[in-house]
């Protein structure tokens, strides 16, 4: 909103007098209210109350019409009284006036007299309340009603031992707490009003239209003879103070106390009760002790709190004092009612609280609207609001959290059950303020401190982040390494990297260490699997290794494969979402081998903060998967991104990812790390956009791009996405070739791949498998022998794409012992990008070769051959597995 207006209330922080009056009557036994005014007043007030209390709220109206307004509303009010009596049978009737009745000058006392004369049989007590909407707020209306009640209820002046306890508008739960303390203390008392049940009822079989609880009339009539009145409404003007009336009329001594919110004011209240002869149970002092203990636990967080507190005067006073007691600084204290006394009562207390924390200033406002509150809280830098739910729009616009207390609470359930009174209520208030601070800190500190202290620097290795310091000190003995010595040049490393150099792919081996299970990005084409021996694709591994296991595997593979040149971390999640594992693994290996090339692949979300670490441990090559450089397109590819404790969705996630990918890629290339960018070609999503991606990453210094086919992983969002043919893929690569070097030899390998690109030997290095004994025993042989065709390069593992198979190994199995029958050579269905010419001819050949088989085993298979095989009734199993096990498993599956 804009500036504070003088002549206009912009977003009221108060309601009208009749609202307060009818609320008070809800605390009187067997009472019903009628508003002398037009129909809308009662309906609006009913709606306002029903939404807060979730209870039926019935308030009658005299339903004044044009005629009534001109000639007087007596007829309407009389009719209204008759009708409400016959529908509700109340013992007490509150008649509250409205703006209209007061303005046209209705004589309510006169109308009541006429009514009683006309209906001598009616025994109900009539209590008129003058409550014009322009005369004050609901706060005054509430006390005017109480004042009228003690004036109009016939009093029994005989003195007795009871005390009067008078309160303003409390929550039902707070009233119950107050009552149970008084009950336990052994004092006999009259509570006026008693809001504990009528607007927080229990569910019962028989709904009673007229509220049955509340202070009974007979008790109220004893108030004149009480030995003392405690009025927990310090800011109520004397003019409407029911306690002052009882004092002045019947000589009942009056003690006005603050509401028992917070430690000091509850102490004061308890001490007063004791001085009146109350026996306070030990459990109350136990609660006090717990409160003190809890306030120590919470004090540092409360000290961060700069609160804006608003509501009715007495509760605002109480909340503010309780906050100050806990070290919260109430930078804005406001009430919508006219109440200059608020400032007088709180000025010193709040000033002291502010002084401790060096807060420049604070505002204590009365007769305030929400625009004034909003402007003040923004100027004072409040980080929390405490008050009714009308603060929700400020919460929505400025993200200042709102703790909902008071009336009304319209956007939550349970408004009638909020607690702030006595030690336990105060404790929950005080912990809520502290928790609001903790929540805020938890949500923001990573981002905030990163923004404050972290700068991308040219000197790699200077900024080490996120718990890696410890690992680093193991390597460097406590000093930051200048730069790990790199005996080979980057160019030399590229020549022996099978992914970065097509020439090396047939000679140099690589080892993927699956140490990174977690992922921070949800891609629609991906499903991660941690214990899958079958599928061959990124995101899949047999097992996740820890850094020690990873080192062991490295040493074993190095021994077996002298041509091992590269160690890579490629998931199965994201290498940088598991930064600690990734870097610890690489550090351990570097200790054993200072020559091996380190390579990492990442989605780039966390990249900017780890470039320095990558440089430090000696990563020379990196692959960043960038599928789009436009958040709108990206939002179709990614479900969400988890970044520094927040989960982002949609375009926000895509934009965040993109920003980090671009900044990270630039930082990588500037740090001298050779970068490849992988892009998955997604039909209908990014196919037209890919050339832009390629051009963008070229400008950031990427060495090459690898445009890949989508693997339609079962269970992923893109499971049914149309497939890209080899020809389409090649065309796209060719189209981008002039912009940047393209990779044509990708095998989209597993996160635990070992060996040459086209000869995965990860199977030989698997961790020992634990097979349940029961499962082994159960599998009885199948009588029939099933014939199965296997696409395999070597005949040892199922490791070939169906469409690229030169020959099929034909097996037979009964589910238990597979036997080799023969090999069948076929003309290759599709050799690669350049000779897909007569597709149908090759297809026929392949289909003939496997026609007599019940099943086909292959590493992967295209969509079209899959359908053709299925049409012929041949089932296809795609997996990466030892041939015999795969054949037996397939045979079992085929026999059901």
């Amino acid at each position: 909103m804009g500036a504070n207006l003088v002549n206009l209330n912009a977003n009221p922080c108060k309601m009208c007098m009749p609202m307060g009056a009818v609320s008070a009557f809800y605390g009187i036994g067997m009472s019903m209210s009628i508003l002398h005014g037009s129909q809308g007043c009662s309906t609006y007030i009913r709606r306002h109350m029903a939404t807060h209390y979730n209870e039926p709220v019935d308030i009658a109206s005299a339903s004044l019409t044009e005629e009534g307004t001109v000639f007087g509303g007596a007829k309407n009010l009389m009719k209204g009284l008759e009708n409400l009596l016959s529908l509700y049978h109340p013992k007490v009737i509150g008649i509250a006036t409205t703006c209209l009745a007061e303005t046209i000058g209705e004589d309510i006392d006169g109308i009541i007299r006429d009514f009683q004369e006309k209906h001598p049989d009616v025994t109900a007590t009539f209590i008129p309340v003058s409550s014009p909407g322009y005369g004050g707020s609901q706060y005054e209306g509430f006390f005017r009603a109480l004042h009228a009640i003690v004036r109009y209820v016939p009093m029994d002046t005989q003195s007795h031992e009871m005390i009067n306890v008078i309160t303003g508008h409390l929550s039902a739960a707070d009233t119950r707490a107050l009552k149970s303390l008084l009950d336990a203390s052994g004092l006999d008392y009259v509570l006026l009003p008693d809001l504990s049940q009528n607007l927080d009822g229990i569910h019962s079989e028989n709904y009673k239209r007229l509220p049955q609880h509340g202070t009974p009339l007979e008790r109220i009539s004893r108030m004149a003879g009480a030995r003392m009145t405690l009025e927990l409404a310090p800011l109520c003007p004397e003019e409407y103070s029911p306690g002052a009336y009882l004092r002045d009329t019947y000589g009942v001594p009056l003690l006005r106390l603050n509401l028992p919110v917070g430690l000091e004011d509850t102490d004061m209240f308890i001490a007063t009760l004791e001085s009146l002869g109350a026996i306070i149970p030990a459990s109350v002092f136990e609660e006090r002790g717990r409160h003190v203990d809890a306030m120590i636990d919470a004090h540092k967080y409360n000290a961060q709190c700069r609160a804006a507190i608003f509501g009715e005067p007495d509760i605002t006073l109480g909340l503010t004092r309780a906050c100050c007691e806990n070290g919260v600084v109430p930078v804005v204290v406001a009430t919508g009612s006219r109440c200059p006394a608020l400032k007088e009562s709180l000025g010193v207390t709040v000033a002291q609280a502010a002084e401790v924390q060096f807060c420049d200033g604070f505002d204590i406002l009365d007769f305030a609207d929400f625009t004034a509150i909003e402007n003040a809280l923004l100027a004072r830098g409040a980080n929390l609001m405490i008050g009714n739910s009308d603060g929700r729009r400020i919460e929505e616009h400025h993200h200042v959290p709102l703790l909902r207390y008071g009336f009304p609470i319209h956007d939550r359930v349970g408004g009638q059950r909020t607690r702030v009174l006595l030690y336990d209520g105060s404790l929950s208030l005080m912990e809520s303020t502290a928790n609001a601070m903790l929540q805020k800190t938890e949500e923001t500190f990573r981002e905030e401190l990163h923004g404050k202290y972290y700068f991308l620097t040219e000197e790699a290795g200077k900024a080490s982040s996120h718990g890696l310091e410890k690992a680093a000190s193991v390597v460097s003995g406590g000093t930051m390494p200048e730069e790990t010595s790199v005996p080979l040049s980057a160019a030399e490393r590229t020549r022996t990297h099978p992914c970065f150099s097509c020439g090396a792919c047939a000679t140099s081996a690589r080892l993927h260490l699956p140490v990174a299970p977690e992922c921070n990005l949800s891609c629609n084409y991906c499903v991660r699997k941690y214990s899958c021996p079958n599928e061959s694709r990124p995101g899949v591994t047999t097992a996740v290794l820890n850094p020690e296991q990873a080192l062991e595997r490295f040493l074993a593979v190095r021994q077996d494969m002298p041509n091992l040149t590269v160690v890579g971390i490629a998931g199965p999640g994201d290498s940088l979402a598991n930064a600690e594992m990734t870097f610890r693994t690489l550090e351990r290996i570097r200790q054993e081998d200072d020559n091996i090339t380190f390579c990492m692949s990442t989605n780039g979300l966390a990249l900017p903060e780890y470039v320095a670490d990558m440089k430090r441990v000696g990563v020379s090559h990196a692959t960043v998967t960038i599928n789009a450089v436009d958040p709108v397109i990206g939002s179709q590819i990614y479900r969400y991104a988890d970044y520094r404790g927040h989960r982002y969705h949609g375009e926000t996630a895509a934009a965040l990812l993109l920003a980090n990918q671009l900044a990270g890629l630039r930082a990588l290339t500037q740090a001298g790390i050779i970068c490849k960018v992988n892009t998955v070609l997604l039909k209908g999503i990014n196919e037209e956009h890919i050339p832009t991606v390629v051009a963008t990453v070229r400008d950031l210094g990427a060495e090459m791009t690898n445009i890949m086919q989508l693997i339609p992983v079962k269970g992923s969002a893109f499971e049914h996405m149309p497939l890209v043919s080899n020809k389409e893929l090649t065309d796209m690569r060719k189209r981008c070739e002039p912009t940047l070097k393209q990779m044509y030899h990708c095998h989209q390998c597993r996160a635990d791949a070992v060996g040459l690109l086209n000869d995965d030997r990860s199977i030989e290095y698997r961790l020992p498998e634990i097979t349940p004994i029961a499962a082994q025993e159960k599998s009885a042989p199948i009588a029939r022998r099933i014939r199965i065709a296997v696409a395999s390069k070597t005949g040892v593992t199922v490791d070939q794409h169906f469409g690229q198979a030169d020959q099929f190994y034909i097996y037979e199995s009964n589910g238990h012992d597979a036997s080799f029958v023969e090999t069948r050579s076929v003309s290759r269905y599709c050799k690669g990008m350049d000779d897909c010419g007569s597709k149908s001819g090759r297809m026929e050949g392949i289909l003939c070769a496997v026609e007599d088989c019940a099943g086909v085993l292959a590493l992967r298979i295209g969509d079209s051959p899959l359908h053709k095989l299925q049409k012929k009734g041949i089932r296809v199993f795609t997996q990466y597995e030892r041939v015999e096990k795969a054949v037996n498993d397939a045979a079992k599956a085929l026999c059901g």
Binding site: N7, L8, N11, P18, G37, S38, G40, L77, G80, R393
Partner: protein
């Protein structure tokens, strides 16, 4: 009828007989004093119609209550200004009542112009403004002259009629806004009347029309702005949804600008389909008709299928309806029929005689029909007829809950769209999630606990003692 019913109310309550009743329903009249009517007032009617105009400054001239209770309580969504989500009041005080509030109002408008400079201000005159003698119209006229913008007085003292009177006052204010813009060349397109864009419903309808190739000129008044509203006289057709609030405007626009109108309901599969076809027919646009058929062919079966799936949960269930206008009640009865739910009690706050005739023809014999019902009547008849669910507004919700009856919000505060094919699914889901909630099971089986909650505490040890004896034996 039960003794719970006031004598003066009997003519406003009908039980549908087997044959033809003949007697008209007493409706469209002032509420009975003391009856605890669920109706609001003239001001309320005016405010609900005008408030969704997003960039207008809505000043409530009067004491604080009227502005306080209407602040941003309705679910009208905006694609533009958020100004309408604030509540402005002259917050009249005792001295203003004595000396008049016109001076304060004038000063308030001056302030608004300095701070915000809106193109359009509405000033709502509430109950006492006329009584204390403020000439609000004169203040507005002067302000228009001074600032060259539109400042329109809305005469809405609460006592001057019913909520329907307020609708009419709002429509008059809208005509005041439109009349100077009467002489514009005609455009291709329609106006949507009586859609307040609750939970985005107007956008849903607009999307259908867009897919049919029909431009929307102006919307009354969901997501409306000054600049779009003044183009309204150029439209070819007015589509009237909430007839209760906007038929009057449609008639006046027909007289003043020659724009024909049609009524349309977008609640339910059948009504939505019919409405789309009829819009095309009214425009004599065969291409739009084809497109409408295509939309219906695509969307209706999906909604029907959804409905069929849920229908199994609704077998044997009975509904009570208590809503604002007659047109909405009629739509709801039809929707419940589509769902296989029988309507046993139906009432409205401001229905007209012709609405009640239609209602009567739609429901089974024995159904209770009420105008301007109160809580006592709703309680009596919902219990008598064994309603399982009530569709209504915020005030009725706690009553239903207290009686152990499910509830569906069909009010202006709801945050779920109930219009169009989208709305069919939402409505069905809303009904199911309350109607078939497991909580009702607890309510029905908890009778013995109800007694114990009321029993004096000292009985409890005796009961426990009794039980332990039995365990011992």
């Amino acid at each position: 009828m039960s003794a719970e019913i006031l004598e003066e109310r009997r003519l406003s309550i009908q039980r549908k007989g087997g044959g033809c009743g003949g007697d008209g329903m007493r409706c469209d009249a002032a509420s009975v004093a003391g009856a605890v009517s669920q109706r609001a007032c003239v001001y309320c009617g005016a405010r609900v119609v005008l408030n969704p105009i997003t960039d207008a400054f809505h000043i409530v001239h009067g004491p604080i209550g009227c502005a306080s209770y209407t602040w941003d309580i309705r679910g009208s969504l905006t694609s533009g200004s958020e100004l309408f989500r604030n509540s402005f009041s002259t917050d009249l005080q005792e001295k203003d009542i004595v000396f008049g509030g016109a001076v304060k109002l004038t000063a308030a408008i001056d302030e608004v112009m300095q701070q915000y400079a809106p193109k359009l201000i509405f000033v709502y005159a509430t109950c006492i403004v006329g009584v204390i003698g403020d000439d609000v119209e004169a203040v507005c006229r002067d302000a228009e002259k001074k600032y060259g913008i539109r400042v329109i007085a809305v005469k809405a003292p609460g006592f001057s009629g019913t909520k329907s009177t307020g609708y009419r006052m709002a429509c008059n204010a809208l005509m005041q806004l439109l009349t100077p813009h009467a002489d514009q060349p005609k455009a291709v397109g329609v106006n949507i009347l009586g859609d307040y864009n609750l939970a985005g419903e107007m956008w849903i309808i607009k999307n259908y029309l867009r897919d049919m190739g029909i431009p929307v000129v102006a919307t009354f008044t969901g997501d409306a702005s000054y600049d779009t509203l003044i183009k309204a006289p150029t439209a070819q057709l007015n589509i009237v949804q909430c007839a209760g609030s906007m038929m009057y405007l449609a008639h006046r626009m027909e007289d003043a600008f020659g724009i024909p109108w049609m009524k349309a309901s977008f609640f339910g599969v059948e009504d939505t389909s019919t409405a789309l076809r009829q819009v095309a027919e009214h425009l004599h646009d065969s291409q739009a008709k084809e497109r409408a058929e295509a939309i219906i062919a695509k969307r209706a079966p999906v909604a029907e299928e959804f409905l069929q799936r849920y229908k199994a949960h609704f077998i044997g269930k009975k509904a009570a309806i208590f809503v604002g206008g007659g047109f909405k009640a009629i739509s709801l009865i039809r929707q419940f029929n589509e769902m296989g739910i029988e309507t046993v009690v139906v009432g409205t706050q401001t229905g007209k005689e012709e609405d009640y005739e239609i209602i009567s023809s739609l429901v089974n014999p024995g159904t209770i029909i009420l105008d301007d019902a109160n809580p006592a009547e709703l309680e009596t008849f919902m219990k008598e007829k064994g309603a399982d669910i009530l569709v209504g507004g915020v005030k009725e919700r706690p009553l239903a809950y207290k009686l152990g009856i499910a509830f569906c919000d069909h009010n202006h505060e709801r945050k779920h769209a109930l219009g169009g094919f989208e709305g069919v699914e939402n409505f069905t889901r809303e009904v199911n999630l309350s109607l078939n909630s497991p909580v009702w099971q607890q309510v029905r089986t908890g009778a013995s606990y109800h007694l114990r909650a009321q029993a004096p505490a000292k009985q409890v040890p005796r009961l426990l003692g009794h039980r332990s004896k039995r365990v011992g034996a």
